[in-house]
């Protein structure tokens, strides 16, 4: 995982073949929470193969992000995290950059998810005297099709950059 960024508002959108069904068959998918996770339309996923132990890991502060999602007041968005409590681990990189967990979202709630992420980043920006770099990777699933979105750059330019792309309305 790259530690740093000098990007301002880099957005890359590519075709993807990831969907919710494929996630349900992942080795790390927690069977004990299957019912809850299958109701979710916004899932946090771990990164795989980024450390020597090869175990799935989440970026640091994902637990905080997950708690933020659970407390976010919105009737449409159902957020969950795709890991058991026992298997949950964070990879700390100690760079002044926020890596959010991989996200998979249904296209219908994509605007809500962007609003949620923007709110979370706004909170992170509060209390800081300098800007904040962020990496956001999400897959938007629309039926059989899906697109992967990678944003890297200033936290305060995330929302406007995504909206300017105008691809998911």
């Amino acid at each position: 995982m790259i530690h740093e960024s000098n990007k301002i508002n880099d957005l890359v959108i590519t075709e993807s073949n990831l969907n919710f069904e494929k996630i349900y068959s992942k080795e790390y998918f927690p069977k004990e929470f299957e019912e809850d996770l299958k109701k979710a339309n916004f899932l946090l996923l771990p990164y795989e193969g980024v450390n020597s132990s090869k175990k799935p890991v989440f970026p640091e502060e994902t637990m905080k992000f997950y708690n933020f999602i659970k407390q976010y007041e919105n009737n449409e968005l159902v957020g969950e995290i795709c890991i058991s409590d026992e298997e949950y681990a964070e990879l700390e990189l100690h760079s002044d950059l926020i890596n959010l967990a991989l996200m998979v979202v249904e296209s219908a709630v994509f605007p809500v998810a962007v609003g949620l992420i923007t709110n979370y980043l706004d909170r992170k920006l509060q209390g800081r005297k300098t800007g904040l770099k962020v990496k956001v990777n999400m897959t938007v699933v629309d039926g059989e099709k899906s697109k992967s979105i990678s944003y890297e750059g200033d936290a305060d330019k995330f929302e406007e950059t995504i909206q300017a792309a105008n691809q998911f309305k």
Partner: protein, 277 residues
Amino acid sequence: MNINQITMYLHQFKGTELRSNILDELSKLKSIAVNQGDQEEAKNIWCLEQIYKVKNHFLSVYKNLVDKEFFQAWCELERADIELHFLRMHLDYTGNKYNLDHIEKNLNQLPKLFPYKYFSSRESIVKNWTCSICNNVITLRNSCNHEVGEIYNGEQCCRIAGDIEFQAVAIVTDPFDKYGVLFPEGLEYNYAILENLMQNWTSPWEKWEYQISRDLIAEYNGLGRNNLCLCNSGIKYKNCCLKTGKNLHDHFKFLFHDKDPKDITNHAKQTFNSWKN
């Protein structure tokens, strides 16, 4: 000292050494407040403790700069910044209350004058967290009710990481914590900009600021646009360093608005690299 006296002392303090017993006194006062169930007073005392720590670290920064202990000054800067960050969400200090605006400005300005560019960054996997307030193990789906950053019984809540698996060390330019400065063998950092500053910065409470302009590197002076570039690229100056800006360097100018001009040591323009050798 009672709480009002300590508050006034910290607000008005403009010396070079804080009284060493203040934290002990605040600790006793906080115990009383907690025992009385006065959470608001306990939080107020926590804020005073933080103010003391921020000021104390800032004074250490200044003292270390005077003593030319630059790396130690750097570490104290980082510590002051962290303590101020903890305080910021709980105390409105606009209007330079407790001189915190002044300190904050210095904490912003000073790091840019250090020659450090590369840092080591630890990479590790953390699998276990406990709450610093209740000591309960925190898992994804089972957390206590204590919120990270909030103050409970006069203590700030944080998560204590455990079961840490070290992975690697990376070299980065913008680490989260700034202590891991690299000191390459055979190279010596050049602190000339800080040394110049300290010739005129005569008190930690004296105001100063700097301006940075982008000036032409002397060697490029008079070089024609169509001449070959001085960097030996083999292409014309206008298509090379003139275009990329590599013909320019940062020029720091220190400004002391409240100082009598005759007390200022002026310097002819000097150029420095990050390294002495």
